[in-house]
């Protein structure tokens, strides 16, 4: 990861980024093979480094490792077991500096770590055999374990005993082998129910916290049973205890329930998610001590082992959390985010708007100025919102990410924008926006994505039949540029040359773009309205020209469906994310990605750029939202709390907040700077496919599959927050249930799911969806 970062860093410095960064990253990863890495050199991701190793000097570990390695080479598995028992080494654990252990046959042995320094038995060392599979092509598994680069070493370290069996799928077998330990299958139920009984009898204040343990324990015990071929016991175990689990885990339980044989485990992604990542729990120190004491008294090693191996318990000092607090934050596939994960500084402020003189004569000079002294020009707040020239300490420096220069046409557009902005309607609870609904007729269930241009002059729709259609919603029709031969004939010196290059004969209200070979799931206009991006089931992202209405580039990189794509607000960059769980950052003039953001445990379902283009947010089926730094590829925020796949994201115009909507029908509001959930808006009864803040950020509009558009009072939601004392240190926010107060209006369509929303520059709300008779 460090290599990737440095590579990226170089690449980003100049605008003309070459395509090497990504390949660099991989190259470096491979070069690390076989190296023994106790701490990842140069790993500067603070989230990734855990507490320093507590017990046992490194020399001892290395000796042990060497011995173990030797034994394993000679297939002396019994001796390995004995030695491990002698040394008091638990079976398996992870360590955070597995940052380099890319799963593709990496030989890097992980160092050791201890999550609880006080516990003697928790010294963990690990050895990884440098296997011959070093040159494995990057597979999905690779990506899987890539995620640990940012996500605090989630990759399960390879464990002796099973390496031979996993020739075909080393990563999977390595992952599964963690379950090879044997216990009496009949006792699993006893263990589980005794723990259950214990937790049910503890004090109320601890019970809620300790109850969090149930779900991961249940899952891992079940998987152990399955892995060890105790099918009937597994089924009985599942039937007995699955009902106890929280309802928001239902989707995962459904997957688990179908998984009853060891063979099924191979290739099951959900299972891999459980194994490759530690389930993160936040428990207060008191509660944790209680649990530990209980387990030690009972000699309940089975459970203790699972807790050690598969759970990451984030212990905090202070009052135990209440049930509602826990429920608000849990629900993700891998538990809550660690507190460390959200500590990094995020420059959420907006970039300074370039100053544009109305007479456009000296624009070149302007541009030079910008280039010349970017550091000096600290960004101010929203140019429209506050007129103060004071620099925003939360804004990134202007040149943190190289942004494209403004062209003449961009400046003209900015002027238009400002003119429009002066006519903007001030929205508020007493002044709700008008909503104009664009219905797609005869779409026969085929409309999958919609986007509006920022100036609301064009609409694009992506369809299940692989087409992309563009409509003009102004009287101005869509025209193609003339053919090359005809272009030769026109007088290039004339003033209206831009008008002359257009072919009047092609003028029409809509154009169809053919090129994809699968349903188009994501669509995004470039801010300058010259390009259109579309992402499709066929694994490509295509860039279309809106001048010629042809495809310019097909970006290949995702091997699986690409669920979403989004242009940066400053153009040039765009992000895509899909079924392969990786979000990729691209530049329009590079056919390979500049960055790959891996860490999600399931499909990336939606992607969104921060208004300052320095960050991007991705929502995923693993029910988490991650915020990534474009500059160095780090994951700087992980937001958990949704109980279903996230399908909509929206940044507030001032860049401070993020709203997210999911299949659970709830909208959650996040404070990016503090990394906290700050609001929950309940009301929708079906998946939320679209979220949008009004131009001034007063109103949040949400559109859903339940055929409604709802308007929420965003100002109030965020204002209430300020009065709250920020428990940023613990992150234990207590949310009051005030959805009803914040809901300003619910507007029903007749039979049209709302799949896109857009505020025009004057704050008229546009909505779009396909009429569904």
């Amino acid at each position: 990861m460090a290599a990737v970062q440095s590579g990226m860093g170089e690449g980003v410095e100049e605008k003309d980024i070459k395509t090497e960064p990504a390949s660099d990253g991989f190259g470096n990863n491979n070069a690390n093979d076989g190296r023994l890495v106790s701490t990842s050199p140069g790993s500067n991701a603070p989230a990734a480094s855990n507490k320093p190793v507590a017990g046992g000097p490194p020399e001892d570990q290395q000796t042990l490792l060497a011995v173990l390695q030797f034994l394993r080479k000679n297939k002396l598995t019994e001796s390995v077991e004995i030695l491990r028992r002698e040394a008091g080494l638990p079976e398996d654990d992870l360590d955070p500096n597995g940052a380099d252990s890319s799963g593709a046959g990496t030989g890097g042995a992980a160092g050791s770590v201890d999550s609880d320094a006080g516990d003697a038995s928790s010294l963990l060392t690990r050895v990884t055999v440098s296997s011959s599979a070093a040159a494995q092509a990057p597979t999905k598994g690779t990506i899987q374990s890539d995620c640990c680069q940012v996500y605090d070493g989630a990759s399960g370290g390879p464990v002796p005993g099973n390496s031979a069996a996993g020739e075909d799928q080393p990563d999977v077998s390595v992952v599964l082998s963690a379950y090879s330990q044997q216990g009496d299958p009949a006792l699993y139920e006893v263990y589980y129910s005794s723990l259950k009984r214990f937790i049910e009898t503890v004090l109320d204040c601890h019970r809620a916290e300790l109850s969090q343990v149930f779900y991961p324990l249940f899952v891992h015990m079940y998987l152990e049973l399955v892995y060890n071929n105790h099918e009937n016991e597994a089924k009985a175990f599942f039937e007995k205890f699955s009902g106890d689990q929280e309802c928001y885990y239902e989707d995962d339980l459904r997957v688990l329930s179908s998984l009853t044989k060891k063979e099924h485990m191979r290739g099951n992604e959900t299972l891999l998610d459980f194994r490759t990542s530690k389930f993160v729990l936040r428990i207060s120190r008191d509660s944790y001590q209680l649990l530990k004491r209980h387990l030690q008294e009972r000699q309940n090693n089975q459970i203790w082992n699972i807790i050690q191996e598969h759970l990451y318990i984030d212990i905090f000092d202070g009052m135990p959390r209440s049930k509602s607090q826990i429920d608000a934050m849990s629900g993700s596939l891998a538990g809550e985010a660690k507190r460390e994960a959200n500590k990094a500084k995020v420059y959420y402020g907006l970039l300074k708007e370039p100053e544009i003189e109305l007479p456009l004569d000296d624009e070149d000079e302007e541009a030079e100025n910008e280039e010349g002294k970017p550091k000096k020009k600290k960004p101010k707040k929203d140019s429209m919102g506050s007129k103060s020239k004071k620099q925003d300490p939360n804004a990134p420096s202007q040149s943190r990410i190289p942004l494209p220069e403004l062209k003449d046409s961009d400046k003209l557009d900015k002027i238009m924008y400002m003119k429009e902005a002066t006519k903007r309607i001030r929205l508020g609870p007493d002044n709700l926006p008008s909503i104009c609904f664009y219905s797609f007729l005869n779409a026969y269930q085929g409309l999958t994505a919609v986007d509006f241009t920022d100036d609301s002059s064009l609409i694009a729709g992506g369809f299940a039949d692989s087409t992309v259609r563009v409509w003009s919603v102004t009287p101005k029709k869509l025209r193609k540029v003339k053919s090359a031969a005809d272009l030769n004939l026109i007088d290039k010196e004339s003033d209206d040359v831009l008008e002359r290059i257009m072919d009047e004969k092609t003028a029409s209200e809509s154009k169809i773009l053919y090129g994809h070979s699968g349903p188009v799931y994501g669509i995004s206009f470039s801010p300058d309205r010259n390009y259109l991006l579309s992402s499709s089931e066929d694994g490509t992202v295509r860039l279309w020209s809106l001048q010629t209405f042809t495809c310019l580039v097909g970006y290949k990189g995702h091997n699986y469906p690409v669920w979403d794509t989004h242009f940066s607000p400053h153009g040039y960059y765009f992000v895509s994310g899909g079924h392969d769980r990786v979000a990729r950052l691209w530049a329009t003039d590079h056919y390979q990605p500049l960055r790959m953001f891996s860490g999600h445990l399931a499909d990336i379902t939606c992607t969104r750029f921060h208004p300052n283009s320095n960050y991007l947010a991705t929502g995923s089926s693993d029910r988490t939202i991650r915020l990534w730094d474009v500059l160095n590829g780090n994951c700087v925020r992980i937001f958990t709390g949704h109980k279903g796949p996230i399908h909509a994201l929206a940044f507030s115009p001032n860049g401070k907040f993020l709203a997210s909507g999911a299949t659970d029908g709830r909208v959650l509001l996040w404070d990016i700077g503090h990394g906290l959930m700050v609001g929950e808006l309940k009301g929708h009864t079906d998946t939320i496919y679209s979220l949008r803040f009004s131009r001034d950020g007063e109103i949040l509009a949400s559109g859903s599959m339940d055929n409604t558009v709802r308007l929420w009072d965003a100002m109030k939601a965020f204002d209430d927050l300020e009065t709250d004392d920020f428990t940023a240190a613990t992150g234990h926010i207590h949310l009051q249930d005030n959805s009803q107060e914040l809901l300003l209006g619910t507007y029903l369509t007749k039979s049209t799911p709302v799949i896109h929303l857009h505020f025009t520059r004057r704050n008229l709300l546009l909505a779009a969806g396909a009429y569904n008779p």
């Binding site: 459904r254 329930s257 179908s258 909503i435 409309l447 469906p561 399908h647 599959m705 507007y747």
Partner: protein, 620 residues
């Protein structure tokens, strides 16, 4: 509950029989039982896995229904060849069959003859995707209301326009919600076809062409889909009456009353909601002081009779205990009747209106006042001649009273009809009543089926047309039919025939209507003047102007003194017996050129003149 569901989910496994059936279908017989079990578990697991992936595609496709293409895409994810040819038209293409203890779901694949497919015409191309949105949206960001694009088909309830300045102080949110609630109250726009229909109908109803009018009235009386237009019709009528009463345009008032009748005859219309407009119009036509330009000669009495009958009918139909129409109407009539200053015309209307309400009303309200009324009539008839109009009015009231009261009295009074007795009971009218009652008794005894002719007399004055008038009327421009009122100037232009200073002996008139297909039929009015004229005088009126068609009473193959020009012609002879009291239709002219000086409704005449047939005068 979730628990139960989950348990079910984890236990669902395909039955081993299915495995066997599938194995057989691919040619593997005798599959081991253990293999079946293993297979079924494996297959169940894989199917679940694929279904879960397919769900993902459904969510991203923004749909609620899982489609076969989702499954295809899920298979592609697993690097499995998708199932081709599974694009079924039906959502669930499986059929179920059972028998011999086995239950089977199968996919029905019919053999298709290729030539059939080739030869069948191509199906219509499905409509292309289109975008619907308010057209004026772009410029309308803040100022113009956003119109609903396709009412009822698809729109946001929220689409509304609101000027940015006009923000209601009570909050726009409430305003929005209010809009949604108010929506059903909005007026229903008529479709283009309905607008055309409405225009045609109203034009025809008040226009000059009688055939068209008959058709239009027929349409109003029978068409089942007029509900949408009902409010417009009722407004049309009430406004029309209001205007034409002021202008004394008798003809149009008659037409409008006929429209009311047609509306009431239509069984699919429910008029109750529009009575507030219709009843005042009808009552106006009953009791108005003056309904025509020349009260002395025009037969506005017929209109009053007709309207009174309409009133009675609507009382019967719509009077309820809550709206009390009948009692309110009765009260109105009685009040103005009892007033001494009431004019004879209004008096006539009141009595007619009351009398039409039925024998009970006559018995309780009219009979007790017969003596008083008789005295009043006597004062006019036998006293000094105050005015001719009063005399005519009194005469009509008298005949009206006689007509209505006779039948009632015939029923309630014992048999021997003594003139003196009647005189003491009913005063001045007594003797006449007595004779009428006796006539009624004999009629009842004879069980005469004869219909009372007078009920059909509304159009009596109109059929005759003088040549001189029609010649004059040729100069008048055609009247635009959509305007209800006839310009008063037209009425003034028409020559006013001199008012007969004294009643002439009644002449029997025969109206012969000849209808023939295609050609403009003519109508001949033959006035057989008993006294002065020896030869029948014939005038021909284009039948289009005839209002007599529904009123035909007599039909005979040979009209008196009439020469049939075409063999196919049908002659309808209507006799218009001059009533004893009538002094109106008694004109007979000796001049062959100006056949009749019978007072006519000028408006009517002018109407007729515009029809092309008007120039074709009598062929004889």
């Amino acid at each position: 509950m979730a628990e139960e569901r989950r348990q079910k989910q984890c236990s669902v496994v395909l039955p081993t029989e299915s495995m066997k059936a599938m194995a057989e279908s691919v040619g593997v017989g005798q599959l081991q039982e253990e293999s079946c079990v293993a297979l079924s578990e494996e297959v169940s697991y894989r199917i679940k896995e694929i279904a879960q992936d397919a769900l993902k595609f459904m969510h991203h496709g923004k749909r609620r229904k899982l489609t076969t293409s989702d499954i295809d895409n899920a298979l592609k994810l697993k690097n499995v060849e998708p199932l081709y040819g599974f694009q079924s038209q039906e959502f669930i293409p499986f059929r179920f069959a059972s028998g011999g203890g086995r239950e089977l779901h199968f996919y029905e694949e019919k053999e298709v003859d290729l030539s059939d497919i080739i030869n069948t015409p191509l199906p219509r191309v499905p409509l292309d995707v289109s975008l619907k949105a308010p057209k004026e949206q772009q410029k309308a960001e803040s100022t113009e209301p956003l119109k609903v694009v396709k009412p009822g088909q698809e729109e946001e309830g929220t689409i509304q326009g609101k000027s940015q300045g006009a923000t209601a102080p009570d909050g726009k949110g409430q305003y929005l919600k209010g809009l949604i609630r108010l929506k059903p109250r909005s007026t229903h726009e008529l479709s283009v076809e309905q607008q055309l229909y409405y225009k045609e109908i109203t034009e025809a109803c008040v226009g000059s062409c009688e055939a068209k009018r008959a058709e239009a009235l027929q349409s109003i009386a029978t068409d089942p889909g007029l509900y949408q237009m009902l409010p417009r019709f009722s407004t049309f009528i009430s406004e029309g009456v209001r205007v034409n009463v002021v202008q004394n345009n008798l003809a149009l008032l008659i037409y409008l009353m006929r429209m009311v009748k047609a509306l009431m005859d239509n069984p699919t219309l429910y008029l109750e909601k529009y009575l507030h407009e219709l009843i005042p119009a009808v009552v106006t036509c009953i009791v108005s002081k003056q309904l025509c330009l020349r009260p002395d000669v025009d037969n506005h009495w017929a209109l009053r009779d007709f309207a009174a009958r309409l009133m009675a009918q609507s009382c019967k139909t719509f009077s309820t205990t809550t709206n009390n129409i009948q009692s309110r109407i009765t009260k109105t009539f009685t009040k103005s009747w009892l007033d001494d200053k009431t004019q004879w015309t209004t008096r006539y209307g009141c009595i007619a209106g009351l009398a039409e309400l039925g024998p009970d009303v006559i018995k309780t309200l009219i009979l007790p006042r017969l003596a008083v009324e008789g005295a009043r009539i006597k004062a006019v008839m036998e006293g000094p001649v105050v005015s001719n109009i009063d005399k005519i009015g009194a005469d009509h009231v008298q005949s009206l009273l006689l007509k209505h009261c006779a039948s009632v009295i015939a029923k309630i009074r014992p048999q021997p009809d003594n003139v003196e007795q009647y005189r003491t009971d009913y005063g001045y009218l007594g003797p006449m009543l007595c004779s009428h009652v006796m006539k009624a008794r004999t009629q009842a005894a004879l069980q005469a089926q004869q219909v009372n002719r007078t009920t059909l007399t509304i159009t009596q004055p109109r059929p005759t047309l003088s040549v001189s008038q029609s010649g004059l009327s040729g100069s008048t421009g055609p009247r635009t039919p959509s305007i209800i009122k006839v310009p008063s100037s037209l009425a003034l232009m028409s020559p006013r025939p001199g008012t007969p200073s004294q009643p002439s002996p009644p002449a029997t008139k025969y109206i012969v209507m000849a209808t023939s297909a295609g050609a403009a039929s003519t109508q001949q009015v033959i006035t057989l003047s008993s006294s002065q004229s020896a030869s029948p005088v014939t005038s021909t009126v284009p039948s289009a102007t005839s209002t007599l068609q529904p009123l035909v009473k007599l039909e005979s193959g040979s009209g008196p003194g009439l020469t049939a020009s075409r063999p196919l012609q049908k002659y309808i002879v209507v006799s218009l017996p001059s009533s004893a009291s009538s002094s109106l239709e008694t004109k007979s002219s000796v001049l062959p050129t100006s056949i009749s000086s019978t007072p006519l409704d000028t408006g009517m005449k002018l109407d007729r003149s515009e029809s092309p047939g008007a120039s074709t005068q009598s062929p004889h």
